[in-house]
């Protein structure tokens, strides 16, 4: 039987995910999950906007951290993009973006403490790596013709400003605006490790069962993201960027002794620190690999593969919701609302909520990852189907879906999915902080036991795993000749 390469790879991933399901820990462990879910939805339906004065502050801090972090990351990323053709720069950028914002925050928390710098750098560093890559890809696309026509002796800066930037300007602006939206999500979840942003207040409300308060925060967050085009205007940007640093809050002062101790003692592997020699280091590392790294990697891989396929399935189910080729305006409007909510909610918050309601297992993580990522890709694919012109006598209903639309969008669907593979894995690792046994769980426990040497090795392993998946994803996309623009 002949199968197309795209179908073959899809089936392969499906089989892997089904096999992974047998090893994965999928369960609902709370006594009354549906009642809790009901209470949560009731809370969202009856939001209480005035219960705590902290709400406005939380939103303000969330926006401030996002602006400062993204602006700093964007500026550094832009400079890096200019020298991105050098191999060491590429490696460096791949490395800093392979470590999730929350991991960066956990690292900086250990020596800067709850200083605003922790939150700003946690966003700026990985974003700089991503900006560098995408900016350089955009700049490379510029037409090289005009630059060749310039009089000899034209300076580098003038050449760059006149022949590169104008051609790329719209794309650079669109992508930066998109990253700002991502930055708001990143900023919100930094609250879960104790920074004064939305996540912090959300966690507090949730743990006290104040669902109406939590509902109000979520609704305000959606409104904040949905109204970005209204309040982020080019003319206002300088005001925001210059003003944002003043709204980060004071936090705690940096104790420089901690910074020094962190680098000179804390992160040095224990056997070296205690002068026990290389043999001890070997067994220290072996123990770390066996008891923490390998189980962490195994669970991270399991969850990633299941979540990837679940994302794919959800995307294929969700894109008709906003496609012009089906149904009426009511369904499309509600489809848009569903997809906007799904993709605006950070997967970390989704996973946190579901974990509270269903108890610890991989299930909340899979559902959260699938909802968020499926929301993003479903939205993109749905919009793409709207540009397709069908013949007047094309079939309708399920046959239109399966014969006319899916075959047309399947390649870009796969392209987006493999593009997000690495992002899903990065998220999977981080969800361990919530108590799922992925790499993040072991990082978090090592930090809680004040064993930063172990935490750093585990973060390093996570980064390498992400880079590996990124390379594999790109290899598959190239092999299948799948083209896509960066989405996140």
């Amino acid at each position: 039987m002949h199968l197309s390469p795209t179908l073959r790879i899809s089936l392969l991933f499906l089989v892997i995910a089904i096999a992974a399901l047998f090893f994965a820990d999928i369960a609902i462990t709370t006594a009354n999950p549906w009642r809790d879910l009901g209470r949560f939805f009731l809370g969202v339906a009856t939001p209480d906007f005035f219960s705590t004065e902290g709400l406005a502050t939380a939103l303000l801090r969330t926006v401030a951290f996002a602006f400062v972090g993204v602006a700093l990351g964007g500026a550094c990323g832009f400079l890096l993009s200019l020298i991105y053709r050098f191999y060491p720069v590429r490696i460096f950028c791949a490395f800093i973006r392979a470590i999730h914002e929350l991991f960066w925050a956990l690292i900086f928390l250990q020596f800067f403490g709850f200083h605003p710098l922790t939150g700003v750098l946690a966003i700026a560093i990985p974003y700089a790596g991503i900006f560098a890559k995408v900016y350089s890809e955009i700049l490379e696309e510029a037409d090289p013709g005009p630059a060749r026509l310039l009089p000899p002796g034209t300076g580098l800066i003038s050449t760059f400003l006149y022949t590169r930037i104008p051609d790329c300007w719209v794309q650079l602006r669109t992508y930066t605006a998109y990253r700002l939206e991502c930055g708001l999500r990143s900023s919100a979840i930094l609250g879960f490790v104790g920074l004064p942003t939305l996540g912090f207040y959300l966690e507090t409300s949730f743990s006290q069962g104040l669902y109406s308060e939590a509902g109000a925060m979520l609704i305000l967050f959606y409104v904040l993201i949905a109204t970005i085009p209204l309040w982020v205007k080019p003319k206002l940007l300088p005001v925001y960027i210059l003003g944002a640093p003043f709204f980060l809050g004071d936090g705690m002062p940096i104790i420089w002794g901690n910074v020094e101790r962190f680098f000179t003692q804390d992160i040095i592997p224990a056997p070296l620190r205690d002068g026990e020699g290389l043999a001890e280091l070997g067994s220290w590392f072996g123990d770390l690999m066996l008891t923490e790294a390998l189980p962490g990697i195994w669970n991270t891989l399991l969850l990633t593969q299941i979540a990837l396929v679940a994302t794919g399935i959800l995307t294929l189910l969700a894109f008709p919701l906003i496609s012009n080729h089906f149904g009426g305006p009511i369904r499309r409007t509600s489809g848009h609302v569903f997809l906007v909510i799904a993709r605006s909610t950070p997967e970390y918050i989704l996973a946190y909520i579901l974990l509270q309601l269903w108890g610890p297992s991989m299930l909340p993580a899979v559902v959260a990852l699938a909802l968020h990522n499926g929301g993003i890709i479903g939205h993109l694919i749905g919009r793409q189907t709207n540009t397709i012109q069908l013949r007047p006598d094309a079939p309708t209903g399920y046959r239109r879906y399966s014969w006319e639309l899916v075959p047309r969008v399947y390649r870009s669907f796969l392209a987006f999915l493999f593009y997000r593979w690495e992002i899903i894995m990065r998220e999977t690792a981080i969800l361990g902080i919530l108590g799922i046994y992925t790499l993040g769980f072991y990082v978090d426990s090592a930090i809680q036991q004040i064993r930063f040497d172990r935490a750093m090795v585990l973060i390093l392993i996570t980064a390498l795993l992400n880079i590996g998946i990124d390379v594999l994803g790109r290899y598959i996309r190239r092999k299948l000749a799948l083209q896509t623009m960066p989405t996140c």
């Binding site: 037409d143 026509l149 310039l150 009089p151 003038s158 104008p166 051609d167 300007w169 719209v170």
Partner: protein, 216 residues
Amino acid sequence: MSGFKLSGLTASYGGERVIGPLSLDVNEGERVALVGKSGAGKSTLIKLIHDRVDGHASLVPQDLGLVNALPVFHNVFMGQLDTHPAWYNTLTLIRPFRKDREAVTGLLRELGMADKFWAPTASLSGGQRQRVAVARAIYRNANLLLADEPISALDGPLAHLVMKALSQRFATSIIALHDVEMALAYATRIVGIQDGQIALDESSNRLSAADIMPLY
């Protein structure tokens, strides 16, 4: 150095020789028209000469090389980027200086499109785009003009307007033209290209259209 002596000009495309080997000497004050049917190698020859003179020439390439996202003014101003420091060029991107504005406006008026000063280049018609590229070449003010079909999208009066402007500004020029009448009207010397070789090289006042036709 507006005239030049070039020898050993050759170019291959996909392993197949499209030009040369040929030699071309052009003296200062000569206005050369390159004629020949499409595919003969005129564009390749223009590019080769541009490379050989290290870019020290005003060039109007066939694809014009405009920055579509910039307005007409900046595309013309790009001809003199080398004469200003980087800060001056950067400020000009945001707000042009009066003296540059006036110089470019005068040039655009001469080419019949002063009203397009701020128009984004992407919004222009083919003929207008061609005139922007011509304006940039004139503004560049090099001693030598290399132009590849600079009037292909212009009709009658406009074509003459552009050719007149070019002959006034550049004493020495090499212009690829498919319009034989225009070539005879504006060039002092006609070089016919056939299969990558020079098949005709004669002063234009000794030629008539009928002498050139066999090349086509």
